[in-house]
Subunit: 367 residues, 2 copies
Amino acid sequence: MQKDPTGRRPPGAAARARVTLRDVAREAGVSYATASRAIHPGSRKVNEAARDRVLAVALRLNYTPHFPAQAVARGSTATVALAVSDIADPYFSLLAAGARAAADEAGLTLTLAMSGRDPGRELDIVRRLRGQRPRVIVVAGSRVAESPHREALVEELRAFERGGGRVALISQPDLPFPTVSLDNRDAGRQLAVALAERGYRRVAVISGPAGLRTSADRVEGLARGAADAGIALAQRDVVEGEFTREGGHAGALALVERGLGGIDAIVAVTDVMAVGAMSALRDAGVVPGRDVGVAGFDDIPMAVDVTPELTTVAAPLGPMGARAVRLALAGPAAPMTETAVTGVVLRASTPGPGQSGLSDLSGLSGV
Amino acid sequence: MQKDPTGRRPPGAAARARVTLRDVAREAGVSYATASRAIHPGSRKVNEAARDRVLAVALRLNYTPHFPAQAVARGSTATVALAVSDIADPYFSLLAAGARAAADEAGLTLTLAMSGRDPGRELDIVRRLRGQRPRVIVVAGSRVAESPHREALVEELRAFERGGGRVALISQPDLPFPTVSLDNRDAGRQLAVALAERGYRRVAVISGPAGLRTSADRVEGLARGAADAGIALAQRDVVEGEFTREGGHAGALALVERGLGGIDAIVAVTDVMAVGAMSALRDAGVVPGRDVGVAGFDDIPMAVDVTPELTTVAAPLGPMGARAVRLALAGPAAPMTETAVTGVVLRASTPGPGQSGLSDLSGLSGV
DNA sequence: CTGTTAGCGCCTTCAC
DNA sequence: GTGAAGGCGCTAACAG
């Protein structure tokens, strides 16, 4: 390797080529400070001619401000960081899309971090995010009932706030931060009642891992709704699976292998799981929407692309993502928690009595 | 507002609470530099006792290094930036997941930026990304044939490289940067031949917007394959749609309204579009997989969740994302372009002569 | 091994 | 309006 003749090795071979504000200033024949002011729309106090010159030079040199340097000088960045477990899951990509829109609107850039469904790693991610000194951190993900990480997460987020950062959660409203949440219990109840009205009498549930609040709440709501409506939802008709398509698949398989018995509807706690369940059912020779009703939660776009189209409880995921960043940005003035409204969307996967599905069902009930 | 009694207003009310490395050093009774060294695993040259003390204090104070400051001091960051058009599109989320894995592996953090399918905005995004001084910028997206932005994009990326950054593209290999690409022409050819072998004689195509290279190449390949195999793919059987589910939907609708005539298979240039097309067909009373074959490209996970399961040309999206960041990281030593291998996956949406898609489904009624 | 001391690129008071 | 200069938090020579 060639040594730098000056003796002092520059940070990188290409370092000389990095164009800095100082270069722009020199080239434009103004001082460093003036160049800085010219570039920031905020400070109007610059001679128009000089400003134009600076801007022209900047453009010609293809200058870009060094964000990290700006961050260090200003003590804050122009980003909002969003932590999700899995960006490939439509649930989270919808949240992300909404969050991005809101960030954009506020002139901020969205940074995404994926934790990969492990609460320990989630903590890690938040730690790392904190290092970036974003203006806002939004954590999306279902809190685990009583995770040992819970306290640590709270402390981490608190520390971030102490440093002047803003926090918002998309989750259950049980952590001391502004939170956008879904009334999962009520959503479950709504769905159970709707199914009862459509004539279903005995529903099985494919739940997520024990302890996952979102899942537990939905199941609880379903049970309550079933009780209210006078239909059956037995504890032993609840099977557990991962919070993924495969979890739904496995859950449905378990149900089928055990024998559906009188079960006329299967509810999975997410659409993603429901889709997996439908696939498993079909493979097992049970036709969703005819032999058995199927429903999910969230109303992801895919719900209308599967056959039959999936009945679900719609959640305004995009708006929720946006809401979270606005909540955080609003600061202490904002309400502590906001609950999004859900609504049952009945589709072909749970046909009513008049439709082909249920009548077939009664015809087949002897099977 | 209360004025700060010192006269000098700190950057933020909470600024005092921001714990810096200096605080840690003081508290641990060592010098600033030593504290820095203690915290970086790289420099082993620190008294163990002192190091432990520093680490303990850091933990107690919940100290996080200030990344922007590190970036400014070191002249480089530990991030790789990925620019995609739409993160909610499975195509891109799969790329992103793969890229994240590779970044992780290299100890880097992935930053995602979405441009939203507008080439002008894509340029904008890259500009902004450049400001973050990531170690790597990966741009994923189909180049438009001869966009006026093309030159600008190249210049932007060049400037980034001049500043010491690394670049990789996931795209057509026609820009002067390391590129991971798909042989879309060949993929199209493969699919056409496979369809011919299954007995299809006349195929229609739902393409993306004119000028989108990915789309154009796939269509061209299909045409060539069809010609080779002696089956029909008439120019007038190619309809254009947006590069989205809705585009596929609209395209299929157009085809149906015009009258399918002798068309026995419909190929959409992406799975996402194919899914939309299937939905439209179904609504129009044409059963995919029975009345007409349907196929797509990419093999997104959803392909096996729709009914009938979708025939497609599989692309290793995740690995491609990973490959791109590795290519960029490898630097000049790396090959300029890498082409991923695709393969046709035949599924129920294009049953062969002996089979029949939907009869499978109705056949189940005897169960 | 450890402390001192320049910077890194930029913003922002403070005088002129 | 404009320039000089201090400081943001941290890293990395350079001496001890």
